[in-house]
Symmetry: C2
Subunit: 237 residues, 2 copies
């Protein structure tokens, strides 16, 4: 199944951008009258019929499916980008396949990467959402500091910070137990050099649960995917 | 912590191969008298002192730790290599970090990749085991057909086959419930085109439990990592 994306959907019509139109009508050779599937990135799938093919193309909506292939929780992953950008982008692709709603690139006290450009991650998130047939495309936030994100985090979410240095921690599995469907869950994953004790202390004082991800020693990007899997399995029947 | 590998350990001595010796003594500049850590790939870590530096180097064993950073289960992942080899090698790296004992490259009825060379995967498994501080390096098997692997699979293991087409399946999470520590667990993951119904039927007739990996649509390599995570979380306290 091939899925296209459009953020221009109104009056029962969908406009495909030049890029999506090119893929739909030139690469895949769709013609006027063909049925195509379009996501709005907000969670809805539209079954449409092409009515105009051109530089931009237009389709009329036949049917719509809301919360298409959504998951029964709301997950925000705050992750410090890795030195090797490919590894972070791999995490973005995998987290989208498994299920994530927002990704916040975080710059920590010990981050070697202090600057992060989100444009490539946004493209990867869109193509992973289309490939894994999800109506919603996760939001990639602008990078921000760990300390400012901790201060801004909502108080009613299940909030966790995963770090490696010693401290009183429980497993992410235990921390998730009993979280009802629909919970908003926030997990923070540090850089290669880990969070600083000051960052961890600040998070804990703001209601973040200090967690570990089990006995295996995981790279930053593996830890971030493992956090997404922990939430995925917590809600799996 | 830097870990070296040697398969030549006898009489209280460890011999580092030319490649490991070069990394230890030229790249990292270790000298006679330095303490180094060496894994045998079978599960044991040896704390050693360098006693001879050369093309090959030699170290005497001070102390050994068996089952070093092992996991409380035995996991065999039978996975059909992806068209894009990078994706399969990424799975190998991640599965080793999370915890796996054997990886069996499988060629299914619908595999687009009918040939697989395991040498690169073996190197990736070794470096991932060293990087994630595991004493044991997973065994990468020679590729074999899905049907022959199903016939040869041990009868006393918890055996599962994950496929996408309809059928009477339970989640991998449910299938793992109650498996005691030390269990041998086998999970089969099909190619992009999925297993054939004949392969699934044959597996089921041989005691494989048909499982799904949840509601998300996962790429082959993501499904394989998700299976490793399912087992990891099943045994997490």
């Amino acid at each position: 199944m091939e899925v296209f994306f459009s953020d221009r959907i109104e009056d029962g019509r969908v406009i495909l951008s030049e890029e999506e139109s090119n893929h739909c009508t030139r690469v895949l050779r769709h013609k006027v009258g063909d049925e195509i599937s379009v996501i709005d990135g907000e969670g809805t799938l539209y079954m449409c019929r092409l009515i105009r093919v051109g530089k931009e193309s237009e389709a009329e909506i036949i049917e719509s499916v809301s919360s298409w292939h959504s998951h029964p929780y709301r997950l925000i992953l705050g992750v410090c980008p890795t030195k090797n950008n490919d590894r972070f982008e791999w995490f973005v692709e995998k987290a989208v396949e498994i299920g994530v709603d927002e990704i916040v690139p975080l710059i920590g006290d010990r981050s070697e990467r202090k600057v992060y450009k989100k444009e490539r991650a946004e493209r990867i998130a869109l193509s992973a959402a289309k490939q894994s047939l999800k109506g919603a495309v996760p939001l990639i936030h602008d990078p921000q500091s760990v300390s400012s994100y901790i201060m801004a985090a909502p108080s009613d979410a299940v909030k966790m910070i995963a770090y490696c240095f010693d401290g009183n921690k429980i497993s992410i599995k235990k921390a998730l137990e009993g979280a009802p469907e629909g919970s908003e869950i926030i997990v923070l994953i540090g850089p290669e050099g880990d969070f600083s004790p000051a960052e961890a202390a600040s998070a804990i004082s703001r209601g973040f649960i200090p967690v570990h991800l089990g006995d295996s020693r995981l790279r930053t990007e593996t830890a971030a995917v493992t956090a997404a899997e922990a939430v995925y399995f917590n809600f799996m029947k």
